[in-house]
């Protein structure tokens, strides 16, 4: 009786674990992609418009403006150190506030 119970337990355990392991493994199985009708695809591709151009231009103008701002390198270091920020973040914020360290810090403390 005792042996039988233990046997049952072992079987259940290993079977259950196997099922769990199998289900989990299936998640990352390699599967072939579904294919689409290629003649219809050509028409659809043509309808995708590139509106990214305008956005990119606007961003470029903004970056140009910021690059022209004069800043004090020591201020960048102080802000980065005191507020425990990445130097790039500190520099960008300083540029956005036209080099005014007090205004930049007050913005970052918001």
């Amino acid at each position: 009786m005792e042996g039988a119970d233990e046997g049952i337990e072992r079987v259940v355990d290993s079977k259950d674990l196997q099922q769990q392991s199998k289900a989990f493994d299936k998640l990352t199985d390699r599967v072939e992609d579904r294919q689409l009708d290629s003649s219809r695809v050509q028409e659809a591709m043509a309808s995708i418009a590139a509106s990214a151009e305008a956005d990119w231009q606007a961003m470029r103008m903004r970056e140009k403006e910021l690059a022209a701002v004069k800043i004090n390198a020591a201020d960048v270091d102080i802000i980065a150190n005191e507020l425990e920020l990445d130097k790039k973040v500190a520099e960008r914020t300083l540029r956005e506030h036209k080099g005014d360290a007090v205004a930049a810090i007050r913005h970052l403390l918001r």
Partner: protein, 900 residues
């Protein structure tokens, strides 16, 4: 790929790749070894072998081989790709992205690399990069369905839902008219529902509704279809149609509260804040009476009216609601009614109802005005309900009286002991609460719920070892530590951590808090495999929902508790560093030679004991492994079982900052977050960051005692600093001068005056008076006695009636404990602390902290009296004996004479 190999070896290389993709790692390894026999320096083969070994848990070998392979063939996109995959498996996503980008420089149109890159970008929420990569994939392979879907989802996540709609419509344009084939109905239906949810998100409600109805036949999920349709109808203002559809949904599931809410909206009877005019209440009442006739089995239709009814109507409806459930013996009735206690006046009405029922049943065995005789159990459930009622109203003495009466009535009902435990916990006797929770547990050893409740009470009473033994009864293989951690059992780890913290065991506390933090890190990583899986399965709505959930993951209350706890540990570590070995040796050197000898002997004994225990643990672990699976399972050995290494952290404040940043980002509306931020940054001398914390505290609750404390402490410190010398100091000074103008509490006042103003506003509040006293002492230590006198002079007034609380006084046990600690450790006035303790012992007679007369900390308490009689073998079996010697398998002996 493998172009430099001869045909035979090139085919073997393809086999390695295929074996990797299909997870046949041994086969792949064999093929790699065959190639390397002839071409031992082939970079790509070395890399692929390394990647294969990585999947077989041979990580160090893997890195070695991959790096060697890359070194041998720097211009191979395969080698870079493999290196990226290796980093990815170690969650080094940024490094992995760098590798992928290098691979793409060499082979810009490689589909596999672009796909892997897109997964990483999704994981890291680099959404613009994700859009770009998915667009490339679509351009390269536009006949793959997954690429269309991936591109659409990328735009949706990048806040461009209308673009996503365009893409999905273009994709639909590529399909045959008789699409989908039978085996893809579910997937296509899900895609359609996703598109409609995008239209809704863009507020194109009319178009969404038209599309939904047009595609009805192709949508398999009929429930989602109906629910989506009704939402759109309501948003378009077509309320009559919406009402009809909500009634249909109710006929499908009359216990869904959202359907009732939707129906109320459609008939113009919904109020967000739950307030209704008398006329609206009448119409609502009529509506629910009608619905009640239709859905007799629904409990929702009977319960919802209790939320909006008032006065006599509420009295009648609540009475009718409660009676059948008491007769039936529903233990969760109080939980069901619990939310009503937050509404003015309803707690009093409920009390009246239940007391009338109690009185009537005791005298006539019938409900008031009832005709039928009630079974004996109705009285017990009534007492059970009353006990919980008085517990909620803060009247613990009456609550205990009622629950004891119920236990006398029927001593074999487990729920009675659980509730008694909870009442005692609220009253402040955690030890007795643990004892009664254990009593409940012993009455049903097969129920993990009561086991867990017992474990939690034991941890709250700081009985950690006993709690561990109790929890182990339900863990796999009896391996409690590993199993509860493996199964991410956070409630246990948090309760255990807090217990260790209270007892000053910072190492164990930190270990448990960080274990919870690791679970959240794991949950974050768990989403990775679904970035490709969900696109394949097309479960897009659920996928997007999961991503949004993941973005908010660290806002969960458990993470907050773990991070806050860890930060508190690190602050304590910083304030009181553990002694280093050198310091201990120094202490030792002051001892006499004979004392030194004794000390060393003691140390050796302790070390031997610890070693023996560790060995026993390992033996148990490995033995368990053998017996279960028939072969030895190698379990990773815990390198730091007691958290001692965590105590050796070089910079505790730096470690604390990591978790603080997560709290600041994810729990910005918690006072505790910014209080901890203040404490941590003040210690780090980051004046501006400490000030930011003060600003946040004032934003959230300017009148909170902790906000006041931080404000005064901060400006007191700033005021005592030297005149600025360095550029850094000058800049800080300028910022603070500018910011000080924005703080109204300080306008034209000294800190003393600010503190006095605070007191004038809150002189009736104990917690605010305590904050005032503490700050007065900090500003001027010579005025300590004045501060103490003011705190002791606080009055414990009655709480105004008509709230959720009964006729009790304002002071809470928690606040009184805080004041006692303040008097004892901050103001350091032991006489005042003693007086306070005696005073509170009267107010909280069950509190073990204050050693109240009724608490288990008092030798004269009823609890200990009963325990004595049990020990002497009295016939009273029902109150648990909680000796340390009791076995972890409960007290079956106590129930030997039990008869039913």
């Amino acid at each position: 790929m493998g172009a430099s190999l001869p045909p035979k070896e090139a085919n073997l290389f393809k086999l390695i790749v295929k074996s990797y993709e299909t997870k046949q790692y041994k086969k792949g390894l064999k093929a790699a070894d065959t190639i390397l026999k002839k071409f031992p320096d082939h970079g790509e083969t070395l890399s692929m072998k390394g990647l294969t070994l990585n999947c077989m848990d041979r990580k160090s070998e893997a890195y070695e081989l991959v790096r060697q392979g890359l070194k041998n063939d720097l211009k191979s996109h395969v080698c870079w790709h493999v290196y990226g995959l290796l980093y990815r498996s170690d969650r080094e996503y940024r490094e992995a992205i760098k590798c992928y980008r290098n691979a793409l420089k060499i082979d810009p149109d490689n589909i596999e690399i672009l796909r892997d890159l897109s997964l990483l970008q999704a994981q890291m929420r680099d959404l613009s990069g994700f859009v770009e990569t998915r667009q490339q994939l679509l351009t390269l392979k536009s006949n793959h369905r997954m690429n269309w879907i991936g591109f659409a989802v990328a735009h949706h996540l990048n806040s461009n839902a209308s673009k996503a709609i365009e893409i999905l419509e273009a994709y639909e344009g590529t399909l045959e008219d008789d699409y989908p084939p039978e085996n893809e109905w579910c997937e296509h239906g899900e895609m359609l529902l996703y598109k409609i949810s995008l239209l809704e998100e863009c507020r194109f409600f009319q178009k969404a509704l038209e599309e939904l109805q047009k595609k009805e036949l192709k949508i398999v999920d009929k429930l989602a279809y109906k629910e989506q349709e009704v939402l759109l109808l309501v948003k378009l203002g077509r309320l009559e149609e919406g009402e009809k559809l909500y009634r249909t949904l109710l006929s499908m599931n009359p216990d869904n509260y959202r359907y009732y809410e939707g129906l109320q909206k459609c008939v113009g009877l919904y109020s967000k804040n739950g307030h209704y005019s008398p006329d609206e209440i009448d119409r609502l009442d009529a509506l629910y009476k009608t619905l009640g006739q239709q859905y007799k089995w629904s409990s929702a239709v009977k319960r919802i009216p209790l939320d909006f009814l008032q006065g006599d109507k509420f009295h009648e409806a609540a009475d009718n609601y409660i009676r059948p459930l008491l007769t039936k013996g529903v233990p969760s009735l109080f939980s069901d009614l619990s939310s009503l206690y937050n509404q003015l006046g309803k707690a009093d009405i409920l009390e009246q109802i239940i007391l009338e029922i109690e009185s009537s049943i005791k005298t006539t065995s019938q409900y008031p005005g009832g005709m039928e005789k009630e079974p004996p159990s109705t009285l017990m459930w009534t007492l059970f309900l009353l006990a919980q009622h008085y517990d909620r109203r803060g009247q613990y003495e009456i609550a205990l009286f009622k629950i004891n009466e119920a236990i006398d009535h029927t001593p074999t009902v487990i729920d009675l002991y659980s509730v008694k435990s909870r009442i005692l916990k609220h009253a402040g006797d955690l030890v007795a609460a643990a004892a009664f929770a254990d009593e409940a547990r012993c009455m049903d050893l097969a129920d993990r719920y009561v086991n867990s409740e017992c474990v939690k009470r034991m941890l709250q009473a700081d009985q950690v070892a006993l709690a561990e033994k109790t929890a182990v009864l339900f863990t796999k293989d009896g391996d409690q530590h590993n199993n509860l951690h493996d199964m991410q059992c956070m409630w246990y780890e948090l309760a255990s951590a807090e217990s260790h913290f209270r007892q000053g065991n910072l190492g164990m506390a930190l270990k448990k808090f960080l274990a919870v933090e690791k679970h959240y890190a794991d949950i974050t990583e768990d989403q990775f495999d679904f970035h490709s899986y969900c696109l394949r399965k097309m479960t897009l709505r659920t996928y997007v929902e999961m991503l949004k959930f993941q973005d908010q993951l660290h806002s969960h209350a458990y993470f907050h508790k773990a991070a806050a706890g860890a930060i508190r540990c690190y602050i304590k570590l910083h304030d009181s560093p553990p002694k280093s070995t050198a310091e201990e040796d120094n202490d030792m050197s002051k001892l006499l030679p004979s004392q030194k000898k004794k000390m060393r002997q003691k140390q050796r004994k302790a070390e031997a004991r610890a070693k023996k225990e560790a060995e026993e643990k390992n033996e148990e672990s490995s033995a368990g492994g053998i017996s279960k699976s028939g072969k030895r399972q190698a379990k990773p050995i815990d390198p730091d079982p007691r958290g001692e290494k965590l105590l050796q952290v070089e910079d505790p404040l730096l470690e604390g900052t990591k978790y603080l940043k997560l709290l600041q980002k994810n729990s910005p509306d918690s006072v505790e977050t910014h209080f901890l931020s203040f404490e941590l940054y003040m210690r780090k001398q980051r004046i501006l960051l400490a000030f930011q914390a003060v600003k946040q505290l004032l934003r959230l609750d300017a009148e909170h005692p902790d906000s006041h404390r931080c404000l005064i402490k901060f400006f007191n410190k700033v005021g005592s600093m030297n005149a600025p010398v360095t550029d850094s100091e000058k800049l800080i000074c300028n910022v603070l001068e500018a910011e000080r103008q924005t703080i109204s509490q300080l306008h034209g006042k000294s800190l003393f005056e600010t503190n006095n103003s605070f007191l004038e506003k809150h002189e009736d509040s104990l917690t605010h008076r305590a904050a005032f006293g503490e700050m007065l002492y900090i500003l001027d230590p010579s005025r300590r006695s004045e501060a103490v006198k003011l705190i002791e002079g606080s009055a414990n007034n009655l709480v105004p009636r008509n709230g959720a609380l009964g006729p009790i006084r304002e002071w809470t046990l928690k606040d009184c404990i805080s004041v006692h600690k303040l008097l004892a450790t901050v103001l350091v006035d032991q006489d005042a602390a003693s007086r306070w303790k005696m005073r509170c012992a009267e107010l909280f007679p069950y509190s073990t902290y204050f050693e109240g007369i009724c608490s288990s900390a008092s030798p004269n308490s009823a609890f200990n009296q009963i325990r004595k009689s049990t020990e002497t073998g009295s016939s009273n079996h029902w109150v648990g004996d909680h000796n340390a010697e009791s076995t972890s398998n409960g007290k079956l002996e106590a129930f030997k004479d039990l008869t039913i």
